[in-house]
Symmetry: C2
Subunit: 345 residues, 2 copies
Amino acid sequence: MSGSGQGGDAYARAGVDIDAGNRAVQRYRDVTSAWTHPDQLGSLGGFSGLFRLPGDPKRALVGSTDGVGTKILIAAALRRYDTVGADLVNHCVNDILVTGADPLFFLDYLAVGKLDPEVAALVVSGVHRACRENGCALLGGETAEMPGVYRPDHFDLAGTIVGLVEIDAMPDPNRVAPGDAIVGLPAVGLHTNGYTLARSLIAETEYGAPFDGWTYGEALLAPHPSYLEPVRAIRQVADVKSMAHITGGGLLENVPRTLPEHAAAVFEPTRWPLPPIMAELVRRGGLEHEERYRTLNMGIGYTLIVPMTDVDKALRAAPGATVVGFVQPRGEGEPPVIVRPVRTA
Amino acid sequence: MSGSGQGGDAYARAGVDIDAGNRAVQRYRDVTSAWTHPDQLGSLGGFSGLFRLPGDPKRALVGSTDGVGTKILIAAALRRYDTVGADLVNHCVNDILVTGADPLFFLDYLAVGKLDPEVAALVVSGVHRACRENGCALLGGETAEMPGVYRPDHFDLAGTIVGLVEIDAMPDPNRVAPGDAIVGLPAVGLHTNGYTLARSLIAETEYGAPFDGWTYGEALLAPHPSYLEPVRAIRQVADVKSMAHITGGGLLENVPRTLPEHAAAVFEPTRWPLPPIMAELVRRGGLEHEERYRTLNMGIGYTLIVPMTDVDKALRAAPGATVVGFVQPRGEGEPPVIVRPVRTA
């Protein structure tokens, strides 16, 4: 069970309460700890849940539910309804990919204040297109018209993915060791996190204004990519010990979830480009180092930890992949993620 | 992909547009028809989607996503947050039960305007309790805090269930024949449908007023039961040919989904009690016959079609089950569901 969009102080100023999110997660643990299904397996970093396939103990089903958050408000403001569905599917594909799972099927939940069939069809067309691109069935979904809950022009979109994994072939973060390399796959924008902050820093009236060859609105809506193909390609040639999908919480909160206790991940931001929209948000929000790497992905969408000896093979397998850091021993009281040197935007 | 809360004219008056829902479903077919995953199987009445288990062609995964609709607005008004989670899980369990599937796991999606950890924990506690009662893992979920989409005191709750079924053991509506009996399992209230209508007929200020030994609010919030145990018990002793979960669309729209083309289901409402809250809504709304049986479940939550010779065994297996009708031949141009005699509330 993940909390509400994680992040730093900037997020709290924008109206999302991180502390409440953490308390909710703690309370969820309280209310759910009394019983766990015997076929439920420990999760891998909390990106998704694992359930042993009945009658087939070597395989597990992997499930994850997510939403696109307030990115939908930007889509609604720009009347661009055909991309948020792909954002959602790709986000979910990446979440279960951390276990090495192949996606099987997806179901969507679309809730609207007033149902416009054309708008709903555009949203679902984006879901369907991304499902097809990921080789994943669109098994069903629900469209709910709820006057009184949503404003007529507002909507919410969430979805659930189910995948399948060979348990023995899953990455094992406990094999991560000092000296391993961290390979990063590039982010193309905010993906599906940080939008409440972004909306507080870039007014709706600016969405049409030019920015970096696009408009602000286009830069903000840049699609969340699926990392299925590059990750499959890298796993075929390299010993991938651990992976993380860089979502809400950024490098600081997502990478530690798949590190062993006595390892720290060191990131060197000079090794990869910062997307211009990130630089703009950092500048406008005066975001401190900690806030940047906790609220935004800062240009890295997905990380894979491989032995240093496999780096060349990994990079050749996935165009765009770069080494973004390495693993070192973690001493008592030291943070699990270090970003250095501090980049001044 | 189901449409928005189905129903009749009364629903349209209450702000839910059935016609738009039907058009959306048609448009979904348009945008998704270009590609279907090869392992996706035809659904059984559209209550859930079926996906052939990779490497195990005799079994299929069954998935369904749903929300609790505007029942949440009544729960929010009464500050009763611990029951809607069970409504949702039981609704989803029943949806896949139509295929005979055993539930494996569930994931929830909770979206709020402002996150109150205690309220969120109450919601999730209801989800967890119902999962446990159905022997279904609560595999994960997402809590999204979205200021700007939801009012601070509003929330939405949706969920996805995944089950497993032996394909050869699935009910086969094509075996339904004239003379078969329809066994009904009793509804305890509105379950998760008809709430936009109910809210238009019963004002929030009345929720605390006494009604039928409860209050209006309590009667409206009566929990959606799981039919897993009675259905399992009946299937162990009787030849169940077809089943339907009576959700939005009532008997008129749900039962035909699991009937063969030339069969009609005849329901005789004198055979089962009408829950008082239904009678009250029929009276207040002046609901016509068609509207009643399309917008509300009218006291039947789930139907099973069995040979007449298996009726006694079926009724003995599940306390509360009653014969509610029978199957007869359906002529050209005749409706697939007939409710007679017309009950005057």
